[in-house]
């Protein structure tokens, strides 16, 4: 059941969202990274059958999203959290997830309600599930959004910035839940939080200006900054990026001076080096 985009283009009026994107998604957790406006949400919307590619070949769970029968089959096995999900504010969290469960045609109602309770338990929202959505905190609304995406045990989970607003404990819970799904199924999530990427993602795909500039393991992303990170007691003027760490030292990225002792890079370092360090050359990772 392949999920892939092959030479996909997508435009919105004069703006180019994706250019010649080729990427295949396999079981496990794939992080989709890139600056704002890089095309991450567009790619996820195409995967979620919410949008169509202008050009190229798209396969989702082995089906063709432009074919009505295939699209229906894909949607029955898809969990999707949009970047900015909106809710009926007068619904409680339970009613909201129940509403999406009806849209997912989970029958009969007793099974549907069991599944609703299951996913609300998974995101630890049962204690507040009868509160109205507009009275929940942003983090709790996000958890309700994640819960609805888990309905019906999806084979493909498409999550657009799912951990925004979650506290560390909830993020940990989220990682556990998603990792469980990813044992057998495919999870694709867009995020700006490198902790999440390093914490539980198997693979990273980086988009810049609608082009795939990196597609490899998370360790390989960190390695993009290999021998290019060093610590110092003061900001190093030769560094391309630097910041003060919690320990009072300065972390520098760039061409290290001869006297500097380099330190092992993190995913953050690798990403910065890739995006702002000139490591990206169009076509390099294609």
């Amino acid at each position: 059941m392949k999920t892939l985009l092959d030479r996909v283009d997508k435009r919105y009026g004069p703006a180019t969202a994706l250019t010649d994107v080729t990427v295949e998604f396999r079981p496990g957790v794939t992080a989709l990274l890139g600056p704002n406006g890089a095309g991450k949400s567009t790619l996820l919307r195409i995967l979620a059958t919410a949008d169509r590619a202008d050009r190229g070949n798209v396969r989702v769970l082995g089906g063709d999203p432009t074919d009505a029968d295939d699209r229906h089959a894909i949607r029955a096995r898809l969990g999707y959290l949009p970047q900015d999900p909106r809710f009926y504010g007068w619904f409680s969290a339970y009613e909201f997830v129940d509403y999406v469960a009806i849209l997912h045609q989970i029958h009969p109602s007793s099974r549907r309600r069991r599944d609703v309770r299951r996913v609300l338990e998974a995101v630890d929202l049962t204690g507040r599930m009868h509160r109205r959505m507009n009275r929940l905190s942003a983090g709790e609304q996000r958890r309700a959004g994640i819960a609805q995406a888990l309905l019906g045990e999806p084979h493909l989970l498409v999550l657009d910035e799912p951990t925004v607003g979650l506290d560390p404990v909830e993020r940990l819970r989220f990682r556990r839940v998603v990792s469980d799904v990813a044992k057998e199924h495919t999870v694709v999530l867009a995020t700006h939080l490198m902790d999440d990427v390093a914490g539980f993602c198997d693979r990273a795909v980086v988009l810049q200006q609608g082009i795939v500039v990196f597609d490899d393991t998370v360790d390989a992303l960190a390695a993009m900054a290999e021998d290019r990170v060093w610590l110092s007691d003061a900001p190093d003027p030769t560094a391309r990026h630097w910041w003060r760490t919690g320990r009072g030292t300065y972390r520098n990225i760039g061409d290290p001076p001869p006297y500097a002792a380099t330190t092992p890079p993190t995913v953050d370092d690798g990403y910065l080096e890739l995006i702002d360090g000139g490591a990206f050359l169009p076509g390099r990772s294609q």
């Binding site: 089959a73 504010g89 409680s92 045609q105 309770r117």
Partner: protein, 280 residues
Amino acid sequence: MSWHIHDEILSAYFDGTVGDAHAASVEAHLLRCAQCRDAVAARTDRRVHADSWAGLLERVDRPRITLTERVLRAVGVPDGLARLTAGAPTLRRAWLVAGLGILGLALLVAWLGSGPAGTVLFIVTAAGAPAVGVALTYGPRVDPAGDLAAVAPFSAVRLLLLRTLVVLCSWLPGAALLAIGLPQHAGIALLWFLPAIALCAVTVVLSGVVDPAKAAIAVTGAWLVITAPAWGGPRYGSSGEWLEKSVAFRGSGQVVLAAVAAVALVIAVTAAHRESRRKS
């Protein structure tokens, strides 16, 4: 604990044959005595316990039911469909208030000496407003959960049809009541009825191809063009004569609109049926 529940009382408690006073005494004792709680647990059928718990959760978790849902369930719509259909009450309410407000204004104009103009405004608005209402009940732009509905396996046409039905059911009685107040005979006052149904049905069909908002704009735009002759020409004569200038309000036009409504409904119902039969 110096005493424990006798076996025969416990058996009677399980059988439900123990009296109320004894039952209360047993339950009070169970709260304090771990040994008797173990004895009760050993006799409990786990399946019965699980069923009871599931039944309790089912009752506690059951969502609140709105008036619209109650009405839909009363006429045989399954609970899930009723919930989806009534999913956009705020939007519908806002549209309903605005639409009926315009009709009330037209009614006022008709009574305040500009009779024909008010009547034409009333009839044109009463026919076109439901199509706008349909667009306001579905689609990512107006439905808060539209993004999620758009990627769900549930048939979009079926959902739109159900919500259209609710729009018409809430609009038609209100508009008909106001129409009674028009200073015209009923034959003229109800000329909006068939166009309203036809415009809604065409909006639903077009929504299968384009965004419902665009479909509604196209349909109401076409409606305004078709009815434009009723506004033009010399400003005299009765409202019946004004309306006669547009083909939509002549007998032949009404027959055509009825046919358009029927064909569009058949197309929409067939599409909804076909989508609903798809297996995952």
